[in-house]
Amino acid sequence: MSKGKGRKRAISAGSIIAQVAMILGAIIMVAPILWMISTSLKQPTAVLTPQPHWVPNPPTLENFAGLFTKSEEFPVVRWFINSLFISCTVTLLVLLVTSTAAYAFARLQFKGREVLFMVVVATMIIPGQVILIPVFLIVQKLGWFNTYLGLIIPGLASAFGVFLLRQFFMTIPVELEEAAYVDGAGPFTVYSRVILPVAKPALATLAIFTFIGAWNEFVWPLIITNDISMRTLPVGLMIFQGRYSLEYGTVMAAAVLCSLPMVVAFLIFQKRITEGIALTGIKG
């Protein structure tokens, strides 16, 4: 039902209803988020009112400031740094690890290539919960319980990443590589000098998806960390809420702090995200 930009848009009743619906829909979708932000900027006494006031009057940053004064019991800054460090590291390593594997699957000939790839793809439908406990035990045996290694390493074997990149690599014209090989380049040079630069869009898409996924991880950090200082922001938020459950202003401030980086990242990279789906070729 797409209409080209060049055609004159018939202004029909249906079209108007649809546009109104879209606006309403967008408002409803965003309303909870706005309400969260609004509450976080309200003075504590102004939060629990029978009638909701959308605009804080007067707005205040004391809830946010309060997050830092509670930092002995709830090290919010440390949680933030943990999440940032882990998400960045995971993203970098995932790119590295999946791109090399994807290149092998896409361009290198070796025995059992198709079968191995099928195995990797097949694991995408295994629910994460199935391997939660065994990975937990393995990580403990490695001595990585309650450490950054335990938070970072287990999640690196992203089948989705390998799948995505392999699909993309296969669309790269073979001539580019052949030219490089003719020039005497080895496979690793071809990979790094030819494939990677061309694959920037796919890599960027994978990077942003991985970053957001790593930041938002909840279950794994929940069970693999034990010290309050090792928690990530999502888990920390849950702990924080457990203690301050009725101080909605403070809790909303913590929630805003937790989601701000993701929202900012999303707004900056939204094109990558929304168009990245097409790269996966999932639709077909």
Partner: protein, 302 residues
Amino acid sequence: MKKRNSNLTAAMFLLPYGILFTVFVLIPVFYGFFVSLHKWHILSTAPQFVGLTNYRDILSDDLFRVAFLRTAYFVVMTAPLGNMLSLLLAVGLMQDFKGTPVYKVAFYMPVVMTVSVVAVMWRWLYSTEFGMLNYYLGCFAHFGHAVVPGLVSAQSAHIPWLSNPGTAMPAIALMSIWWGAGGNMLIYLAGLKAVPRELLEAAEVDGAGPLQRFWAVTWPMLRPTTLFCMVMSVISASQVFGQTYMLTGGGPYYSTLTVVLYMYQQGFGLYQLGYASAVAYVLFVAVFMFTLLQFKLLAVKR
């Protein structure tokens, strides 16, 4: 293409991922099953092999049955409705109205939030006394008065969303639909964009209205996308954990107990890793069989 040493080269390229995959994905799949065959308390230094006893206990455990049914209820409430909403939103985006980029951002925004943010946000929305949802529902009931603010202040509907066994799960389902609609929306959008314009124009020429065009042309071409989205939605919904863990803890009175939450409680609340592992495998088998069923029912018939 160089074929010399290609196996060795390939091995080098595959090594980092291969090691990680083997240690943290492949081995755990089998190790987890191994664990499920034991009575394995976190503190026990010598877990006891018990064969399939855990599985037998699960199948006769009425709490597991409750969790299974509640999870099925959740899946049925969120997967079809959620997908319909996602498709609707995608169709709306396809219209290319003015402001579509803003709509796209608005619809997708919830997806980038982590589960604890969503839970915290909606817990506040669902508050019985001061929640925004109850307020606007109350407004609805006092429609006339609410239109003129200040005339009579509308009363909150006072529905105890999260503490009433009848409303707790629907409340979590609504929140989950809100949270996930944007994700599938993008996939449907990609699918809609892939529908050849010529077919649609041909149908229009044949006199088909927009709805007819949708049913005759778009919907059948969307089948693979729909199948993919439904399957992924069901798999994802069957694993619901964070929402129930944070908002209700499985209550009130087990009305929001889901299988993964039950598994977490058994494994990390009661420290029974063997039993919890078995729960995970039972869920896996159930979801797998249901996925096969979905393929049979929804797969493209040519």
